[in-house]
């Protein structure tokens, strides 16, 4: 019997009940590792499996739930040993029956980035080890997952290292979300894309409480639905469950109309529950769930359907942007993240991510950008690159269903891009061009669109996941082109039934009043069937045109969203900006009071009469010093110091722009590496130091948190950096700080010919003392951000 045959022959596939509950009954003590019982007492485990088989289970879960290298560390056995034994035990119980054995894999037990410290790639390796060890099982089950990202790592590990069927179940709370905020719709969309065989829910709630979640699942999952609830809700103190086997079975039967196909019990259930479940389902027929097909993409927490125009933000793209290019070269993620957050605030529904620049490692940057952007915004992302390896790297670490930008009509593009789209379950932008360039006529572009759609379908990518881009040409160069683009758009929409996407801003190159042309063209395109305008969402008139269009086409019912958008812009939660005394024009005062826009205005004014560096040294720095002094003396609170620093930053932005436009001389007083050490994830202190150093004109290379010592060393060598700041919040991570310092000191490339160190290291963090800092070999101990600046001045001037 195989899983497929089970699906074909059984009305319902019955799973087993709880393992942990049974083990507790057989005397497992608090804190003992349940998976090790398979080695010490195999007969107990086999006995439990047998009792579930006797109760009617078609599939039993091997006792491997927590058998991963992280949880088993130090227990004396490897994950491989424990898993292999567990599968043998289960197989033994299933001997001479049709029962299948599932390799059961639960969460690793450590949170993944960004909430925790475990990298996606590390999670993949842990799962891979489990999957290889469990290769004798008949299928693979991932259960009790609460993080879609972790589940994605698990599914990829399974797909790439095994050909067994995969069942995934996640654990939802009563608010219809998992602990990490994943919704049922996002789970369904992502897992379907990754090509699992069945999906559903387990643990946390009883069958009764699971009903509303199952209801959602039946709307969104085209795959067989799995439900494995607890025996009700646990009593917080005694940990006993409140639903009887009969009640359990009765409630489960109520899930049949929702498409229930595969079912069993989780915590608190026993063979008796499974027996009653079998009885309750005996005369019932399963119902095929009828899922509506609709075009959509998602992040882990937010699904965006494309049944009305949605804005794709175009600003994360270095083309033609000096400051963006510089940010990429410097690895300045804050700059990119700022653009991400600002675009979502401006009204973007999806963000395009393009980090292509010849000077950098695009693949590495794409991975970093995708990871960091998805940690701060919840909108879906569009991975924009011309390189297949960069595309795959981006898709891999993306948490949800992404859009690929793009494939075109060339055979080579089709053959390299579409398999990746399929593998990672993405949507794809199809550009209507090929080796011959962009066809002049709408018919020519339509033909390419048709080719792309057909090719996609041959790879198993459905039509609603292909978004055709009919390409905007510059109207000042080819005036007839605009009409041709619109015509093609309409043809694709009507004849191919595809969703459409279009970069709008190109239309107006070389013309004055570009915004006017852009907005008019956007409106025309929308009327001709454009679904996904790629625009700058922070240009109010563009975003406004889309909003207005939705009102006029009766998409925005009762204009609710339109009114909301503009009310919010006027009266909503705008931070009360401290009111400036206009006209005083004193930069020092503006900085002291944290008046950003005032600072920027005064700086612009000053640039008419002063040199940029003069402003920095004579105005900015003294004003910042004064703010720092006030904080040091306890005259102001920390947020006020930061506000002053941010106000100074506004000045700096203006000065940087000025310098970027006039020459290439950097306005930097020197480079400094900042890192929160390996193992430590509390980085707010380090980030405050960064804000201050930035605004004193130092170039900060921020390596982030949980930073490997080697990375600090590599960066110092590669960028020839002589000053390094390290932070650690906890006593447990001070060791990492010491290790990092040691590695820096012992690296020959970072030593002078006489063996002394080239690097000056300053350290800080809550539990650190000056004595300890000296003991572990730091040059300076800085008790706060202000002292870090003082130290930087001392060292770099």
């Amino acid at each position: 019997m195989t899983f497929k045959e089970l699906l074909e022959t059984k009305e319902f596939i019955i799973l087993d009940g709880a393992m942990g509950t049974m083990l507790q009954k057989s005397g497992l003590k608090v804190g003992e590792i349940p998976e090790l019982l398979g080695i010490s007492h195999p007969e107990i485990i086999t006995g439990i499996h047998k009792s579930y088989i006797d109760a009617g289970a078609h599939i039993i879960y091997a006792n491997t739930f927590g058998a991963n290298s992280y949880k088993l560390e130090g227990c004396g056995y490897s994950a491989e040993e424990v898993i292999k034994t567990a599968v043998v035990n289960a197989k033994k119980a299933a001997e001479n029956t049709d029962t299948l054995v599932a390799l059961d894999i639960g969460p690793i037990g450590q949170l993944l980035e960004p909430a925790g410290g475990l990298a996606f790639e590390e999670a993949y390796e842990i799962f891979k080890e489990q999957i290889l060890a469990g290769s004798d099982a008949d299928l693979i089950v991932f259960e009790t997952m609460t993080d879609l990202y972790e589940l994605k790592a698990a599914v990829l590990a399974a797909k790439e290292n095994s050909d067994k069927p995969i069942i995934c179940t996640m654990t939802f709370e009563k608010d219809l979300r998992t602990f990490t905020g994943c919704s049922v719709e996002c789970m369904a969309m992502t897992l379907k894309g990754l090509g699992v065989d069945a999906m559903g829910l387990n643990c946390s709630l009883g069958p009764e409480e699971m009903f509303p979640i199952a209801e959602q699942l039946s709307q969104f999952s085209p795959l067989p639905i799995v439900i494995k609830p607890n025996a009700g809700l646990p009593d917080p103190n005694s940990n006993t469950y409140d639903v009887s086997p009969e009640e359990f079975a009765e409630s489960m039967a109520k899930l049949v109309p929702l498409g229930l196909r595969i079912c069993g019990g989780c915590c608190g259930t026993t063979p008796e529950y499974i027996e009653k479940l079998c009885e309750a389902l005996k005369d019932k027929k399963h119902v095929e769930n009828t899922v509506r097909k609709y075009p959509a993409v998602c992040s882990a927490t937010k699904a965006v359907d494309i049944e009305e125009p949605r804005i794709i933000g175009e600003r994360i793209n270095p083309t033609g942007k000096k400051l963006f290019k510089q940010a990429l070269i410097d690895g300045d993620m804050d700059y990119i993240l700022n653009q991400a957050v600002a675009q979502v605030k401006g009204g973007a529904d999806i963000l395009d991510v393009n980090v292509g620049l010849p000077e950098i490692d695009e693949k590495e940057m794409m991975v970093r950008a995708v990871k960091e952007i998805q940690a701060v915004v919840d909108v879906p992302l569009q991975i924009d690159t011309t390189k297949p390896d960069v595309l795959e790297a981006g898709l891999r670490v993306y948490n949800g269903k992404a859009i690929v930008n793009s494939v075109n009509g060339e055979d080579e593009s089709i053959a390299t891009v579409l398999p990746l789209v399929k593998k990672y379950g993405a949507s794809v932008v199809g550009l209507t061009l090929d080796k011959g360039g962009i066809p002049k006529t709408a018919e020519g572009r339509f033909a390419i669109a048709e080719k792309i759609v057909k090719a996609s379908q041959s790879y198993g990518i459905s039509r609603e996941d292909v978004y055709i881009d009919c390409l905007t040409l510059t109207v000042s160069a080819e005036q007839e082109g605009a009409a041709e683009t619109l015509k093609a758009l309409k043809m694709v929409k009507e004849k191919l039934g595809c969703k459409t996407v279009l970069g709008v801003s190109n239309i107006s190159f070389g013309l004055p009043e570009r915004e006017l042309i852009n907005r008019t063209f956007l409106t025309m395109a929308l009327e001709n069937g454009l679904d996904l305008p790629i625009i700058n969402p922070n240009v109010d008139s563009m975003t406004g045109a889309v909003r207005a269009y939705k009102v006029l086409k009766a998409i925005d019912k009762n204009s609710v969203k339109f009114i909301e958008s503009y009310n919010q812009a006027n009266v909503g939660e705008k931070k009360p900006q401290p009111t400036a005394q206009k006209g005083t024009g004193d930069l020092a005062e503006a900085i002291e009071n944290g008046l950003k826009s005032e600072c920027a205005a005064i700086t612009k004014e000053l640039l008419n009469t002063m040199e940029p560096l003069e402003i920095v040294n004579q105005k900015l720095i003294p004003a910042l010093d004064k703010a720092g002094d006030s904080f040091e003396k306890g005259k102001t609170f920390l947020p006020q110091l930061i506000q002053s620093a941010n106000a100074a930053q506004a000045c700096f932005e203006i000065i940087k722009e000025k310098i970027a436009s006039s020459s290439n001389a950097p306005v930097s007083k020197g480079k400094i590496i900042l890192a929160t050490v390996k193992g430590d994830i509390h980085d707010i202190g380090k980030n405050i130091v960064k804000v201050l150093l930035d605004n004193y004109g130092y170039t900060v290379v921020d390596l982030g948190r949980d930073v490997d010592p080697q990375k600090v060393v590599d960066t110092a060598i590669a960028q020839n950096i002589k000053m390094i700041g390290l932070s650690a919040l906890m006593t447990t991570t001070l060791k990492s700080m010491e290790d990092t310092i040691k590695l820096v000191r012992n690296t020959p490339q970072l030593q002078n010919p006489d063996g002394t160190s080239k690097c000056v290291i300053f350290v800080g963090g809550a539990v650190l003392t000056k004595d300890y800092a000296m003991k572990i070999g730091a040059d300076y101990y800085c008790k706060d951000a202000k002292e870090s600046v003082d130290t930087a001045k001392l060292v770099l001037g």
Partner: protein
Amino acid sequence: MIKLEKLSRQECLRYLGGKNLSVTPQIENMLDICEKKIFETASVKYLYKEIPVDSPVLHHGNDIEEHLKGCEKAVVMCATLGAGIDRLIRVSQITDMSEAVVIDSLASVAIEQVCNQVDMIVSSLYPGEYLTFRFSCGYGDYPIDLQGEFLRILDAPRKIGLCTNKSSLLTPTKSVTAVMGISKNPIEKRKRGCAVCNMRENCKFRKAGLRCDI
């Protein structure tokens, strides 16, 4: 169910530095906005469980022995504001660092207040008995790497999504684990204070002549 209630401004301002400062309307306003954001974002969850006082996890070093002296039972607990708060702090660090430090401080106040409520719930389960204060891993010589053991006993990763990383730091970060001793006899009123605090050599409050009198 525990609901967050008004967060102590005084405690938050203490974290934010400044000595006996009068609060400007700007700071006041910021505190209001940040508190609202925390209320909207926090997903408070907690667990507790009675364990025998001779459980191995409660016997590491002198300070915990001292703490549980005379107690017949012990209750381990954990609480978290959830991962949403970490995200909120992360996002605000990008958009407005000054707001981020206020949210960070207020969230620390919030998790402490949640723990105080858990105390009361536990206390109500043992009428007529006496509870010690909450003692956490990392206090005095009680090793912080027991953090994972606490979570395992409480089944916290599965039940409320609370984990540790390899350095025994709790994730989500605004979280607490602790143990309270329970005794039939009145417990000498010990306070969580400088004596068992690892920060005592370096504490800016202590240097300023202040004490955490909780």
